[in-house]
């Protein structure tokens, strides 16, 4: 590569100096306009979204719990002890008001000191009624949600037999079927395996399918009880004394959750929320439970 020089007009140099001057002015302007502040507000609570509310009203339950978290509370797990909120339920047909009591309750496993505000009441919930929940701040701003409780719980029937011990094959040897009638929507289907007096809950909600006039489900107890097996090498599954099937009918506002397949999608705040000025889900359910007895498997091989 060869380097050559041409004569340069001084006017060009002068123009170059002017350009440099313009750039310096621009730098000074940028510095003055944008360069001084170092403050950042990364957390900006809004009056548009006040509280997160999660809870259900269930006539079959002795106590109703509603989780309330102030979104302006920057606690990451759980809540701060102080919560500026009053929660109340209004029975819309009668206008009767139930003021929920606050609790600062420890939840989760014992390794973590996580406390949350669960509002609660032992007032009876009327089947078929519609309730309006209001969580109000002292400045009058509030988050609200409405829930209708189903008229009746689902009628639970099951076929096949719950036999222990589990076997490897055939695959269907560890399955019993459940049929739910009398409910347009189902909020939950659980099996509670009773082992040494302790209940171990496993959701069977993903095993449900809609059939004309009824909802079918199945329970693959080998899948569940293998998690609880005390000796997985020699014993395919744990041996419960009996099991409970718990099914909950859902009220009309309960989401179908059809478009969400992952936790990330479920957690998008506006996706499955019925809370005004807030996030979360507040619904009505009605539960029933039946007992499933465990039978010894007489034909189990080695």
């Amino acid at each position: 590569m060869i380097v050559r020089f041409n004569d340069v007009n001084p006017a060009q140099v002068h123009r170059g100096g002017r350009k440099m001057g313009s750039l310096l002015v621009m730098i000074a302007t940028l510095l003055l306009v944008a360069g001084c502040s170092t403050h950042v507000d990364a957390f900006v609570p809004t009056d548009e979204h006040l509280f997160t509310i999660f809870g259900v009203l269930n006539p079959a339950a002795d106590t109703q719990y509603v989780r309330v978290k102030a979104l302006a509370d920057s606690s990451r797990l759980g809540s701060a002890r102080d919560l500026d909120a009053v929660a109340s339920l209004v029975h819309l047909a009668s206008g009767r008001v139930i003021v929920l009591r606050d609790s600062f309750m420890r939840v989760g496993d014992r390794t973590r000191d996580v406390h949350v505000h669960n509002f609660w009441t032992t007032e009876p919930i009327e089947p078929g009624a519609t309730y309006r929940l209001t969580v109000e701040r002292s400045d009058g701003l509030a988050s609200r949600a409405t829930a209708t409780v189903p008229d009746a719980p689902p009628v639970i029937t099951f076929s096949n037999t719950f036999r222990i011990p589990c076997v490897q094959r055939p695959e269907l040897a560890n399955v019993f079927n459940v049929v739910l009638r009398g409910a347009a929507k189902i909020a939950a289907l659980d099996v509670l395996y009773m082992i040494d007096g302790e209940a171990h809950r496993f959701s069977q909600f993903d095993n449900l399918s809609n059939q004309p006039g009824e909802i079918h489900g199945y329970v693959n107890y080998l899948n569940d009880l293998s998690w609880l097996s005390p000796d997985p090498r020699n014993q395919l599954c744990a041996h419960p004394t009996h099991a409970l099937i718990a099914a909950s009918a859902a009220g009309p506002e309960w989401p179908d959750f059809v478009s969400a397949t992952t936790l990330d999608e479920l957690a998008v705040p506006h996706m499955y929320s019925n809370v005004e000025n807030g996030h979360g889900l507040f619904g009505g359910i009605y539960s029933d439970t039946v007992v499933v007895h465990v039978r010894p498997r007489v034909d189990s091989g080695p």
Binding site: M1, I2, V3, R4, F5, N6, Q12, V13, G16, L23, M26, L30, L31, A34, G35, S37, T38, H39, V40, D41, A42, F43, V44, P45, T46, H49, T52, F54, G55, V56, Y65, V66, R67, K69, L71, D73, S74, R76, L77, G78, V107, G108, V116, W120, A187, A188, L189, S203, F205, D206, S248, F257, A260, D264, L266, A267, V268, P269, H279, G280
Partner: protein, 763 residues
């Protein structure tokens, strides 16, 4: 194992691309035309080396002038190799020149055919007469989107010793966004760090920038030259869509042993080099280790939990017709980006490979062959039990060649690589997930550089890439122009355009500014693509003053971006976004005698667009448009360097407007009422962070002044001591580095850091 990207099935899925690939490769071989005997032209080639130490001199001028004063010129490449175009046989006056060396003059009878002529230049003490050619040469050598960086350029940037580093030079360029002084992530003209191709002696390295971002695996002590393409590069660089940093390390001294050791507040380093076989085989070993973890509490009064080290060894052999090297690099970084939290980041790079540049006597072809393996892994451990590990490795071989033909210079090459990807994530509440994949790709490239007119150079290249098993090959045509019209002063108008694709991508969590954990994954579906358009004007405004203005547009397609989720965890599921990056970079450089000053300004805009449902964002609309966190609108930089008497003084000042970030408006724990899996009275729930419209706010502006002064004491011919004093962030600006939206913790960049660094060299 990924078997296809498109719905090709069965044997066709494997054979079809291979057949196309084979046809293309054979076609390229067929246009390789060996010279006939009795030819009526000559080609002269050889090496230009430093006489005392035997290392190649990159960028040296080799000029042949015939009796009619017609000039034929060539410049040496990174190995000191040059080759002329076809010239007529005859008698020529030869001049070989290089800044800092005595010009070599000779009269040469050039015979018909291929002729080898190598030169050893002798250094001179005061190269001031050569320095005055700076402005003209910088303009004439300008190429679209490309900056050449020499060891002298690196030394102009104040770095807290014991030597300068290429990382500081790159980060000071307009159009380059460095999120901060930790983490070592560089965003170039709208691209992301994982879209940058970084080569060292032609071998890829994934993340050579250290956790203290002013340091990298490329200290000034090792770098011979570096070419930094912020776009518009030719088809010999394939596989990345944003930029290329092509670093060439110098070879060790082939004649005598020498060494250097140094210490600064951030690191200590040592270099040793010498002949393994005097005159042709040399070695060079370099080791650097950070000490900032130990020293910071004493000189800045704060904890600085950063540790890095890198070791490099290069063995080089120069023959009459070849220059071959073996290179090994290992880097290790560990640290906590936020010193207040127990988040611990760790990453390593391993590079081992060889490169041979050579030619056979009598053949006009010059070959450049590389083969090697490179690996990268990174880990982050957090106090809440999160453990994320991800890595990638690549085995590759590259064979490039070029040959002079009547139309110009023909280049072509072949490459193939096997990539492995590993991801293991353990998240509290969310369990363990893993991913292990292997992917095979190969490609060819060909192109020609021709001069249809004396003042016009055209470089047209075409790259063809195909997964070895899978879809149809993709074509990547690229064009580069350089026009030097004869108008006032010296003018160089450059332009480049091309199509670029990438077959894998590094995914990082965009919610936290400054997150350095990257999970490499093969690209799914449509490959990420960029179309570059660059136009540049380079002009001398006097013998010492030059200006460079370059405007660019990058159209981005199918860029993988991490899906948005309110769940507080690292997310490897990606959506594809389209986008546009555009802007202007301007530089004004003054170099006279012992003084250099450069003023730069960059204006850049980056916009991404993605289907809102795909992205998981909630912006209100079907398509969500946003400025990603590397959309830095304005950057201003001033660099000055003065050799004043016994001292070298340097300063750098940088100003950047704030980067986009996302604010949070609430925190809660999500109870999964679907199936009543969580109950208020029992479950904690899944931690959730609720944020406002993504990237709708801007962080504060960044500005910082670094200064240094250096003096070298020469005690004898064999022993020198260099002392450097300086200060980083001289006026103690609290520049923000990192905000963790989940913990709301703020981490600032380095405060005012005065330093003293010493290094001594022995021959």
């Amino acid at each position: 194992m990924i078997m296809s990207r498109q719905p090709l099935t069965g044997r066709a899925a494997i054979l079809r691309p291979l057949i196309v690939f084979a046809i293309l490769y054979i076609s390229l071989l067929s246009i390789w035309c060996p010279p006939a005997q009795g030819q009526s032209y000559s080609i002269v080639r050889g090496f230009v080396i430093d006489g005392p130490n035997g290392t190649g001199l990159p960028g040296a001028n080799v000029a042949f002038r015939d009796a009619d004063e017609t000039l034929y010129a060539a410049a040496t490449n990174a190995d000191g190799f040059y080759q002329t175009a076809r010239i007529a046989p005859g008698r020529y006056v030869l001049e070989v020149s290089f800044v800092g060396y005595r010009t070599h003059r000779d009269t040469l009878s050039v015979i018909s055919g291929i002729q080898t002529y190598s030169v050893a230049l002798v250094p001179v003490a005061t190269p001031l007469d050569e320095v005055t050619v700076e402005a003209g040469r910088v303009v004439q050598d300008a190429e679209a989107g490309m900056r050449r960086i020499s060891a002298a350029d690196i030394d102009r940037i104040p770095t807290p010793g014991p030597e300068g580093d290429l990382a500081s030079s790159i980060a000071s360029m307009p159009g380059v966004v460095a999120l901060g002084d930790r983490g070592g992530q560089l965003y170039v003209r709208g691209g992301t760090p994982s879209q940058n191709l970084i080569l060292v002696d032609g071998l890829p390295i994934v993340q050579p920038f250290h956790i203290v971002a002013s340091h990298s695996a490329f200290p000034a002590d090792l770098v011979s030259t570096a070419e930094f393409y912020s776009g518009g590069y030719g088809a010999r660089y394939m596989g990345r869509i944003s930029s290329v940093l092509d670093v060439n390390l110098r070879a060790g001294n082939a004649h005598r042993f020498e060494g250097r050791a140094g210490a600064g507040p951030f690191a200590v380093s040592a270099r040793v080099e010498g002949p393994l076989r005097k005159g042709d085989i040399s070695f060079l070993s370099y080791y650097r280790r950070s000490i900032i973890e130990e020293t910071a509490p004493h000189f800045i009064g704060k904890e600085a939990p950063y540790h890095f080290q890198n070791v490099t060894t290069k063995i080089h052999r120069r023959g009459d017709n070849t220059a071959c090297s073996l290179l090994g690099i290992r880097t290790y970084d560990r640290g906590r980006i936020d010193p207040m939290r127990a988040h611990s980041f760790e990453w390593t790079n391993t590079v081992f490979g060889g490169r041979c540049l050579g030619f056979a006597p009598g053949s006009p072809h010059v070959f450049d062959v590389r083969i090697g393996v490179t690996g990268f892994s990174n880990t982050v451990l957090t106090e809440d039990g999160t453990a994320r590990r991800a890595g990638t490795w690549r085995f590759y071989n590259v064979s490039d060649a070029h040959v002079s033909i009547p139309l110009g210079d023909l280049e072509w090459g072949f490459w193939s690589q096997v990539d492995g990807y590993t991801i293991d994530l353990r998240e509290p509440y969310l369990g363990v997930s893993g991913q292990h994949e292997i992917f095979v790709t190969a490609g060819v490239h060909a192109g020609i550089t021709t001069r249809p007119r004396d003042d016009l150079s055209v470089n047209a290249t075409l790259g063809v890439r195909a997964p070895a098993m899978g879809s149809w090959p993709g074509l990547e045509p690229r064009l580069r122009l350089s026009w030097q019209p004869k108008i006032a002063g010296q003018t160089n108008i450059t332009a480049a355009a091309g199509i670029y694709r990438q077959s894998d991508e590094g995914i990082s969590d965009a919610r936290d500014a400054g997150s350095v954990f990257v999970a490499w994954v093969p690209s799914r579906g449509t490959l990420p693509e960029a179309r570059h358009y660059i136009f540049g004007l380079h002009q001398t405004l006097g013998p010492s003053l030059s200006t460079h203005v370059e405007t660019y547009v990058k159209q981005l397609r199918a860029i993988p971006v991490a899906k948005w989720t309110p769940i507080v965890r690292f997310n490897t599921s990606v959506a594809q976004a389209d986008g546009t990056a555009y802007g202007v970079d301007a530089r004004l450089e003054f170099a006279r005698g012992r003084f250099y000053a450069g003023l730069s300004y960059g204006w850049n805009v980056v916009e991404y667009r993605a289907a809102e449902d795909d992205l998981g964002a909630w912006g209100g609309g079907e398509v969500f448009a946003y400025n990603p966190p590397h959309d830095q609108r304005h950057t201003v930089g001033i660099v000055a360097n003065l050799h004043a008497g016994l001292f070298d003084a340097s300063m750098r000042w940088q100003l950047s407007t704030g980067l986009p970030f996302t604010t949070a408006y609430g925190y809660d724990t999500f109870l999964e009422l679907r199936g009543l899996r969580d109950r208020p009275e029992e479950s904690v729930g899944t931690p959730r962070m609720l944020y406002a419209r993504p990237f709708s706010e801007r962080l504060p502006a960044y500005h910082r002044l670094d200064v240094s002064a250096r003096r070298t004491f020469t005690f004898s011919d064999r022993w020198e001591l260099t002392a450097e004093v300086g200060a980083m962030n001289a006026y103690d600006r609290p520049n923000l580095f990192y905000i963790d939206l989940y913990t709301l913790s703020r981490v600032d960049q380095l405060p005012f850091v005065p330093y003293v660094a010493l290094s001594t060299s022995v021959r």
